[in-house]
């Protein structure tokens, strides 16, 4: 997986354990479910998708295969929506 970064011009609100993102370029709004929100948050502290997977597996004591799939799908989704660069 290539190295990805959050776009810095997005407007982001954390509401309880979920994230809502407003994209000022497209005027579209995105809602991330709790798992996608964790992955989004980890972008601030983790430099690679592998690190994100490791962080979630360690902190949630979750099954690594499932987490890896979630992370991959979420990254793909975030990329498709143009929220990463």
């Amino acid at each position: 997986m290539q190295s990805l970064k959050k776009r810095t011009d997005l407007l982001v609100e954390e509401i309880e354990d979920e994230v809502v993102i407003y994209d000022p370029r497209t005027h579209r709004v995105h809602h991330l479910n709790p798992m996608a929100s964790i992955i989004w948050e980890l972008f601030d502290v983790s430099v690679s998708p592998q690190e994100i997977v490791k962080e979630i597996v360690d902190s949630l004591n979750a099954e690594s295969q499932k987490v890896e799939k979630d992370v991959q799908e979420t990254l793909k989704h975030l990329q498709e929506k143009g929220l990463l660069e």
Binding site: L11, E13, I15, E16, V19, V20, Y22, H31, L32, S37
Partner: protein, 304 residues
């Protein structure tokens, strides 16, 4: 040609209306008495005119043609829709949401949703349960304190049947008329809040509940589904009238709104049940509601 002109103010938006049709002028004043207050000396930001030629009433905004109607009744709604569009454009101190709203015990319940979602039906239904009418379509959020301001426009209702109980009827005046659709004349009515139901200027309410109604024709019952606050904020953003003017603070305001409120999705198959579910959230009133009144609203369902 004799012209009548008056200046008004809706929220903080001053406008002027000129017309050569005295009957339209008088009825416009009456129908919008709860919403359009007399101008307070400010220069109008927009001038509207309604001038009748041989066949049509033509609506112009600052001289530019906007619409035309052969009859008076659609004119009132049409002119107010022009005013509404101007509010979205000119007033930056408010966020406007596509939602109905009512108040009880000084807290507001918002009913956001697109057209046909059932918010006007639900707004009318809830009036029978002792709720105060704030709006059936345009929720005004004051950005300075994230509270709801009333926008008591006339409620436009299909059919001439009584849609509220005798008790609630005391607070509204009903104007009934027929409007041509194709080859048939259809009955409509405007419900206009009477002076007793008009909330004083600067009255505002904290939002206690946000309920997104979804009308489902095939469903018999109604039920509430809790909604996460993030999803509610996301949905509110989809129902903004002027969200495009608030790049940075639109999301913040929606986020503030949902943080203070309990948020639900309402799947609506039965109006009485739907009203009672909302009443269960906001607190019961001692009002007993007759089923016939709610059925009367529900049977038609063709409310705007």
């Amino acid at each position: 040609m004799s012209l009548s002109t008056a200046r008004f103010e809706v929220l903080s938006f001053p406008f002027e209306l000129t017309t050569d049709d005295r009957k339209f002028f008088d009825e416009f004043l009456e129908l919008n008495s709860a919403l359009a207050l007399p101008g307070n000396g400010k220069l109008p930001q927009v001038q509207y005119s309604v001038i009748k030629n041989t066949k049509y009433f033509c609506i112009r905004e600052n001289g530019k043609f906007r619409n035309r109607w052969a009859h008076r009744w659609p004119l009132y709604l049409s002119v107010m829709m022009c005013v509404r569009d101007s509010l979205y454009l000119h007033l930056k101190e408010y966020l406007f949401l596509h939602a109905g709203a009512l108040a009880k015990n000084n807290k507001a319940v918002l009913l956001p949703g697109p057209s046909e979602s059932g918010k006007s039906t639900l707004t009318l239904g809830l009036l029978n349960y002792g709720y105060q009418y704030l709006t059936d379509e345009v929720v005004v959020i004051d950005l300075s304190d994230v509270r709801v301001l009333p926008f008591q426009r006339p409620i436009y209702i299909y059919g001439w049947q009584s849609v509220v109980s005798a008790e609630v009827e005391k607070y509204f005046k009903f104007y009934r008329f027929k409007e041509r659709y194709g080859n048939t004349m259809q009955p409509w009515q405007y419900a206009v809040p009477k002076q007793e139901a008009v909330l004083p200027k600067n009255t505002s309410f904290e939002v206690g509940w946000i309920v997104f109604p979804t009308y489902n024709e095939t469903q018999k019952d109604s039920y509430l589904k809790p909604m996460s606050r993030a999803e509610a904020a996301f949905n509110l953003m989809q129902n903004g009238w002027n969200m495009q003017h608030f790049n940075d603070c639109g999301l913040k305001v929606c986020s503030e709104l949902v943080k203070k409120a309990d948020c639900y999705q309402l799947m609506m198959g039965d109006l009485k049940e739907a009203c009672e579910l909302i009443e269960g959230l906001t607190g019961n009133s001692p009002v007993s509601v007759k089923s016939e009144v709610l059925e009367s609203i529900w049977r038609r369902k063709a409310l705007l």
